[in-house]
Symmetry: C2
Subunit: 114 residues, 2 copies
């Protein structure tokens, strides 16, 4: 069960399970930012900020680039593609299951009439 | 930062960060199932199965109902609503940011002509 694809999904969803990491994503979705800009609005020490950013990078959500002494983070364009399509597929199956149930319930009174 | 809404998101995304819990969701999206049916296809002891199901229930993904000695799990109809709209909002901001960048890049050669 622990193949590569599962590990990726584990890391992706784990990356989103923290309010600071989601706050970084909310900032980066609007455009790239340096570590200093990401750390500024929150009351967290730099080592913790860097650890959160590493989790986001390992989860395939962000990429980073170092120019001189400044490391800049940006969203991966496909950050949400895999998890988005996993969720959509489940939602579509759920809708189908609800539809089947609705058809079943609609048919029940008819049976009573016979 | 640790308000109720954040806690809910933490739990939701954490609930999805495990391959066994995602396998349960994949099964339940197709229709309700009893604990025994959920445990059958996987090589995991019952206490671990119940723990995973509790995490899914605390994450607002599933609900359960006990009739006699049988506990049945089903998807919450709104299981993915909050996280789906969070992801959609980020994706839409990312698209806007890419569009702005594309416009900027398209304008660059014009400036060179003057």
């Amino acid at each position: 069960m622990k193949n590569t694809s599962h590990t990726n999904f584990d890391r992706m969803f784990h990356a989103l399970s923290d309010p600071y990491r989601r706050a970084f994503i909310e900032q980066l979705a609007k455009g790239p930012a340096a570590v200093k800009e990401l750390a500024a609005p929150i009351d967290v020490q730099l080592p913790a900020v860097l650890k959160h950013l590493r989790v986001l990078e390992e989860g395939g959500i962000v990429i980073s680039e170092k120019v001189g002494r400044v490391r800049t983070y940006r969203m991966r364009p496909d950050a949400f593609r895999a998890m988005g399509s996993w969720i959509e597929q489940r939602q579509s199956e759920m809708n189908d299951a609800f539809d089947r149930l609705a058809i079943l319930m609609a048919q029940t009174p008819e049976k009573k009439d016979h």
